[in-house]
């Protein structure tokens, strides 16, 4: 299994500002994933964070709004830029554990973001 730590666990931010969310994994992983979960909704994949290359964004998400860094095999950051109240969500980091079938993913506890 993989243990994932996300920081911060929650934050309240002013509109127009940016927040960077950190994701730390206790083992090296090839791909890390960022999801958004709006209140009462399911999870939506934002992007795949690849080490050594640009992140791959899903339809509806762009790098200018959600820049991602992946400096090494255990760490990634997601920035929510120029925030608006519509960005209020839980943001989750996910990885696949080494040595297990690749549909078994592990998630962090999430970052609960409120934009006021």
């Amino acid at each position: 299994s993989a243990v994932i730590s996300q920081k911060p666990s929650r934050d309240i931010c002013q509109r127009g500002t940016s927040l960077t969310i950190q994701c730390q994994v206790d083992s090296q992983v090839t791909m890390m994933f960022w999801y958004r979960q709006q209140p009462g909704q399911s999870l939506t994949l934002i992007a795949t964070a690849n080490q050594g290359s640009e992140a791959t964004y899903e339809s509806g998400f762009v790098i200018d709004k959600f820049p991602i860094s992946r400096p090494n095999l255990t760490f990634s950051t997601l920035t929510v830029s120029n925030m608006s109240p519509e960005d209020s969500s839980i943001y989750l980091c996910s990885v696949t554990g080494a040595g297990v079938m690749n549909t078994e993913a592990f998630f962090g506890q999430g970052t609960r973001l409120t934009v006021v």
């Binding site: 994933f33 399911s42 939506t44 994949l45 993913a105 609960r112």
Partner: protein, 111 residues
């Protein structure tokens, strides 16, 4: 990735067996069926995965018919702590953990 359809909500009582059925009509040959559980204020947790027939682990069983167009997650003798949202996903094996979540089934277990 194949789209999944499952009931939005289900109610049950403690001690009962709960079966949640998921439809995935457009499942492809390389797709695996995976179920996740999510409690409030937590990230989803892997429950079980299968390709065909029946899979059982310490938590649940997964039944997949021969045509693989649907699957049923079976939770034996549920307790209050099984109250959660259950997601059925179809994922491509070896795609490194990329998952597309559907709406999920909110299971409420009552005393």
């Amino acid at each position: 990735l194949a789209k999944t359809t499952q009931p939005i909500s289900m109610d049950s009582y403690e001690g009962q067996e709960v079966n949640i059925t998921c439809s995935h009509n457009n499942i492809a040959t390389n797709d695996y069926i995976t179920w996740y559980q999510q409690f409030p204020s937590q990230g989803p947790r892997f429950i079980i995965q299968g390709y065909k027939t029946k899979v059982t682990n310490e938590v649940a069983s997964l039944f997949i018919p021969a045509d693989r167009k649907s699957s049923t997650l079976s939770l034996p003798r549920v307790s209050l702590s099984d109250t959660a949202v259950y997601y059925c996903l179809v994922a491509i094996y070896n795609q490194g953990g990329k998952l597309i979540f559907g709406q999920g089934t909110e299971l409420s277990v009552k005393p």
